[in-house]
């Protein structure tokens, strides 16, 4: 599907290739594998075929090649799928309909780099077909999608990892490990921590245009399939090619796009992988119905007392309600401090590649990725509704605001459903 509009992609360190080159080379290799017997290809210096897996890339835009490489496996790219391949699809190695690709038994792992409105549905469909999944961030477009991915991961016992890896570094940082242990212990009587993320949300850069006029659909693009589960709108190029980020139908602005990078490590450090905020308040102008736009800040509070703040730094006055504050062992009494100090360090996080081989849960598994994405969606719901929200992290519902809940679980265009 269509991703970033950048024309060149760093596939391997120190080496830049175009997307066309990447696909040509990769598919070429895949074709060779279908002709030459497997055992011949595992010669000296080669990875034995027994250690390779059949892979596919769905969504071949800007992030596609990088996402496929990020799997870290000896994966052979057997097939690629993109809704803008109408002019070249052969349903052998190049597809426009991911459903046909997922029917293939020789594909074991799938990298998904479509725009986010497809992430959940394709991830779920891939796991239903028995594949393991590495999915680009943000994991989802709305909260209920994330829960459905978690359920599919459990139902089929597949490996799911979101394509952001900040938590892997964080989990080796001694300072973060100590915070993680304090929070995980549950021994803080009241958490007064305030974590403020200022700037880098690309709010203006990834806003949408409010005055789009319809344009002819390019002949190589399956527009109906591009729109997929989202409400059908008339084609305009700004809805695709990276700038799709600026429209609620496909993503959620820079906040949704950058947020999973910023808050994936936060979630791990602050031990929030199994919960969500209970109060959300935003300062933003009334939102446009289609185009993501400006916002000032979002303040979220957890049941344990912790505050998380997003401060855009791009609109209105900066957030000034609270100062940033961490936690330390000195927040505990002596007895509890000793208990935390006696806690073992957490186990190293499992990479996607290792998880595929060992069937252990990867570091950025579905529940963790879903809880991170939930932060972004809750923030955007507060921005879109202009209302202070109360959220139930167990039921995953906004309390007492039926209209706001319509953004938690959004209807899909048939035949697509969760």
């Amino acid at each position: 599907m269509i991703g970033s509009n950048r024309k060149e992609y760093a596939v391997k360190k120190g080496k830049t290739v175009t997307r066309r080159q990447f696909l040509k080379r990769s598919i070429g290799v895949a074709t060779a594998f279908t002709i030459v017997p497997r055992h011949v290809l595992g010669g000296q210096g080669q990875t034995p075929p027994s250690e390779t897996v059949g892979g596919a890339l769905i969504g071949c835009g800007g992030r596609g090649p990088g996402t496929f490489e990020a799997m870290g496996l000896n994966a052979r790219l057997l097939a690629s799928c993109d809704v803008k391949f109408l002019d070249r699809a052969d349903n052998k190695t190049i597809y426009t309909d991911f459903r046909r690709l997922l029917e293939r038994k020789d594909i074991e792992v799938v990298a998904i780099a479509t725009p986010p409105h497809w992430h959940a549905l394709i991830s779920i469909a891939a796991m239903e077909a028995g594949k393991d999944v590495l999915c680009e961030k943000p994991m989802t477009r709305f909260i209920a999608e994330g829960r459905a991915v978690v359920e599919a991961e459990k139902r089929y016992n597949r490996i799911f990892q979101v394509g952001t890896f900040g938590r892997f570094g964080e989990s080796r940082n001694p300072v973060s490990i100590q915070i993680h242990k304090i929070m995980k212990s549950g021994l803080l009587k009241k958490c007064e921590a305030v974590h403020i993320k200022r700037g880098e949300f690309k709010v203006k850069e990834w806003s949408g245009k409010v005055n789009l006029q319809p344009e002819p659909v390019p002949p190589n693009l399956d527009w109906d399939m591009y729109v997929g589960p989202s409400p059908m709108k008339l084609y305009h190029r700004h809805r695709t090619g990276g700038t799709h980020r600026g429209y609620w139908d496909y993503e959620g602005g820079g906040l949704a796009d950058m947020g999973q990078h910023f808050f994936d490590p936060f979630q791990w450090t602050w031990a929030k992988d199994d919960t969500s905020p209970v109060e959300i308040e935003a300062y933003a102008p009334p939102a446009h119905p289609e185009a993501c736009g400006m916002w000032g800040w979002v303040e979220m509070k957890y049941a344990d007392g912790m505050t998380l703040v997003f401060d855009s730094g791009e609109w209105a006055q900066p957030y000034n309600r609270k100062e940033g504050r961490g936690v330390s062992l000195s927040d505990l009494d002596e007895e509890n401090r000793k208990k935390v100090e006696a806690m073992p360090d957490p186990q190293p996080l499992v990479s996607f590649a290792e998880a595929v081989k060992t069937r252990k849960q990867p570091g950025g598994h579905a529940e963790a990725a879903h809880r991170c994405a939930t932060l972004l969606h809750l923030a955007n719901i507060a921005i879109r509704t202009g209302r202070k929200l109360r959220y139930d992290p167990v039921k995953e519902e906004i309390i007492g605001d039926e209209e706001a809940n319509r953004l938690v679980n959004q209807p899909m265009r048939a035949p697509w459903h969760l």
Binding site: R99, R100, L102, E103, K105, A125, E128, A129, G130, R155, Y156, N157, R158, K204, S207, G208, K209, V210, N211, L212, Q213, P214, P231, M232, L234, G246, Y283, A284, P285, P286, A287, H288, P289, A291, G293, M294, W315, A316, R384, T385, G386, R387, D401, E403, A404, R406, Q410, P411, M412, R413, A414, P415, H417
Partner: protein, 283 residues
């Protein structure tokens, strides 16, 4: 132009202009809030006045009235006064007629999805067999929830093609138990999307009487159908177990465990085996 419409036009004109890139980057929250509160004071006339300013895409500039109508939908929800919200929704619903261009009606429907309630369901239901509007109408009904099932159920016998698919799926979304019979018949529909939607709908409703029909669907030879109908079976078992219908759930799990013998379907066999264990079955 009468006085009230000129006041409305003046208020709408004061809303922010898009910047040179077409974005609302230069926007003053307090100013917009104040304008919308003023428009709201104009009541029904203001709402209809805004609708009158809407045009089909490509046929003029209606950026500001579109934005104003959406802001008004948010505003009536924010007031937390049911009378204001219902008055807004009633007025919008009254504008869903054959007179307005379909694209304009589509926009009205999407605003009802934001702020509409049960009162809007009958007007939305009338659009369920309209090829251009059925998707928006069904999405709005599903979002609203209250009153949706009756509208979808009544429209099903008359609907064809895309509208039929949309209705079948959304009967599953709203879990309409009264549609089980119609959905069972729909499972024989020659259109693949429609019969798969019916299978999923029956599963999501959690109908214990659909076990046999769903198992038959799940044994399809077509690869994608087999995957999706199997998923429907697994969803059904989870609903059945939640409802305490263990016998039926065990039957589904046992069938899947015993029929998925090929190595490429081992993950389904494993899922069924785990399901049996979770259900406490000794089979």
């Amino acid at each position: 132009m009468n006085e009230s419409s000129s006041v409305l036009a003046r208020l709408v004109g004061k809303l922010p202009d898009p910047d040179e890139q077409g974005m609302l980057s230069n926007i003053d929250k307090e100013a917009v809030d104040s304008i919308i509160a003023e428009i709201h004071k104009g009541g029904r006339d203001s709402i209809i006045g805004l609708v009158d300013m809407l045009v089909e895409p490509g046929k003029g500039d209606d950026v500001k009235p579109r934005y104003a109508l959406h802001c008004l939908a948010l505003y009536v929800c924010k007031l937390r006064d049911e009378n204001y919200r219902r008055a807004f929704a009633d007025t919008l619903a009254s504008q869903l007629s054959g007179e307005r261009p379909k694209a304009v009606q589509g926009y009205i429907v999407r605003q009802l999805q934001v702020a509409g309630g049960r009162e809007a369901a009958p007007a939305l239901g009338k659009l369920l067999c309209d090829e251009e509007l059925c998707e928006y109408a069904a999405q709005a009904l599903a979002a609203i929830g209250e009153g949706a099932a009756e509208q979808l159920r009544n429209a099903l016998p008359k609907a064809t093609g895309k509208c039929r698919l949309t209705i079948v799926q959304n009967l599953g979304v709203v879990r309409d138990t009264k549609s089980v019979g119609a959905l069972k018949q729909t499972i024989g529909d020659p259109d693949r999307d429609i019969h798969l939607a019916a299978a999923w709908a029956l599963a999501n409703i959690g109908d214990a009487g659909s076990v046999e029909i769903l198992l038959k669907a799940a044994d399809a030879q077509d690869a994608y159908e087999r995957i999706k109908a199997t998923q429907a079976c697994l969803v059904l078992t989870e609903k059945l177990l939640t409802a305490g219908k263990k016998t039926e759930a065990v039957k589904v799990y046992t069938h899947l465990r015993d029929t998925r013998t090929d190595v490429t379907e081992k993950y389904v066999r494993d899922a069924a085996t785990r399901g049996l264990a979770a259900a406490g079955s000794k089979r």
